[in-house]
Amino acid sequence: MLRYRYLFEQMVRRELRQKYKGSALGVLWYLINPLVLMGAYALVFSVLLRVADIPDYPLFLLVGLIVWVFFAQALLAAAPSLVQNAALVRKVRFPREAIPASVATVQMVTFLVMLAVATPVALAVRGTLEPELLLLVPVVALLFCFVLGLSLAVSVLHAHYRDVEPVLAAALLPWFFVTPIFLRVEELPGVADRDWLANLLQWANPIAPFVDAVRQVLYAGTAPGLGHLAYIAVAGVLALGGGILLFRRMGRDLAVML
């Protein structure tokens, strides 16, 4: 496996190149996208609907959005990745995991760039620097494990059943709306006196605790609770382990079926 570390590096470079080819702004587009979303949602929820009574609301939105955009883009790009690289899979022997993993890693790189932009902004807005910020490292690492595991799973599933990608694309929009990105779960007017609904929204959706954890560290400067951290640790490890197992199991005959 170590032998292929260099391959992985090369595949990531190839993905990056293909992603930004022929666009003048290149990687900037991936920063502009969440910024535009941030502006639009801030306008709607804070100015027009006035449901969001949160200080520095655009920053609050931005932190949630970059986590979501990373998650959604990585899965959408990973799902068709094996099929798109069918020629390679049929003709060369190498660890097939490298394909979806490199796609997810490219999204991770974009995410890290956005994080690098958002972090100083958050610190400047808050005006303080707490040691809790260090928690960002394990939280982001676990988020990457989580996304990588799911990317492996959706890519190999899509190779078997070609409607995985459209199903995923259709599911991501409602998923986005039930993920606490606009407001924290407890601040949603509809769940005020319904604890079960709050718990459901907070814990049944595995990406929600990741969004919340990154936001707590970056936006609020506070540490997530131990239970919360334990949840994302388990989610990250389970997703990655499950993704690898599924890929091994279903990926055996990829060269024949693609």
């Binding site: 470079r13 293909q18 080819k21 060369v92 199903v167 024949v256």
Partner: protein, 403 residues
Amino acid sequence: MSAGLAPGEIVLDKATRTFRIRRDRSRTLKELVVRRGFGATHASVQALREVSLRIAPGEAVGMVGRNGAGKSSTLACLAGIVPLDSGRAQCGGRVITLLELGAGFGPDFSGRENIFLNGALHGFGREQIEQRMDEIVAFSELGEFIDLPVKTYSSGMFLRLGFSIAAHLEADVMLIDEILAVGDESFQRKCFTRIAQRMEAGATLVLVSHDPGAIERVCRRVVVLDGGQVAFDGEVTEGLLHYHRLLGTEGGASRSSRPTGSGSALEVTELELLDADGRPRSAYRPGEALAVRMRLRARSEVVRAVAALEVRSELGELCFRTDTVIGTVEGEIEVSFEVPRLALLEGSYDVAVGAHTQDPPPGGLLDRLTRLVVSAAEGGEGIADLRGSWTVAGRRSHEEALR
């Protein structure tokens, strides 16, 4: 992967692989749900049936067979791309596959960057690739194109780059499928020279090809596959003859596997091509006279014997076939087929002959094979010279037409 095998050693042990054929290459969830209910049945094809082979380090083995005989499947299994259902397929040491040129090239990458990517795909690290970089670039003859994106390349440039990479990375085993047939003559020669060098350095080669010429050039051993099984394994000229016989029995899989001289009543002991002066020669110009001379031997008296002759192109297409009753044969007899003016045009051809009693043994029509090379000539292209002449209405001669 290479447990117990010396670098360059290849072992196939009862390798078996079946492919299921689906109507549609992709499945959908709906199909899955619907099919479950009816108990899906798939047609299946046995690509490999208990194939066992052992190839020693440094050997060059050609693999031939008709379409669908299992050549490419064998290579894919050896390369570890396609897993076996049962049995074992292993290569010792580092393996480089050339199943498709330019597989995995990033179109937006320059030639140089693709050398790194391709090397990495085969498990090589940056330093190993950098060491070889200059040789690869020089061999590919790409010049300054090496730093342009490969999407701007012609197919010939693609081929040269792909081969250069594969031929310069230090692999113990090279698995090559068909691709040597492309490219111009001078580059092909360079490829063969390079392959020979790699083999002198101890690398093992398995070459799949439809082109007996290419196989003869590099390989001393030939494996003929038919119907997913090894139909022949041995010396190259005999192997190519066997392959030729297979081509002669379209549809009748492996029926013609009669080994030469295994007690048939009548056999061809000698086969020669003779020029107008009666000297043996294998290269001719179109229009020359030649004779196909064969010596037959009958073990006992054979009445109503038949001699047959067949000419095929390098790709195995039948160009000409004839046979004749030669009457009673006792002991040895010489039979010739005289060609006053050779009507074949430039190319390499297989001339196969055989002899049998009037009820031919199934498939085993042809006994001996020789190679006929025809050089280039003016006046036409293709495989056959139709010996026609042009006329233009109202003009008496070609010279007049030119005036």
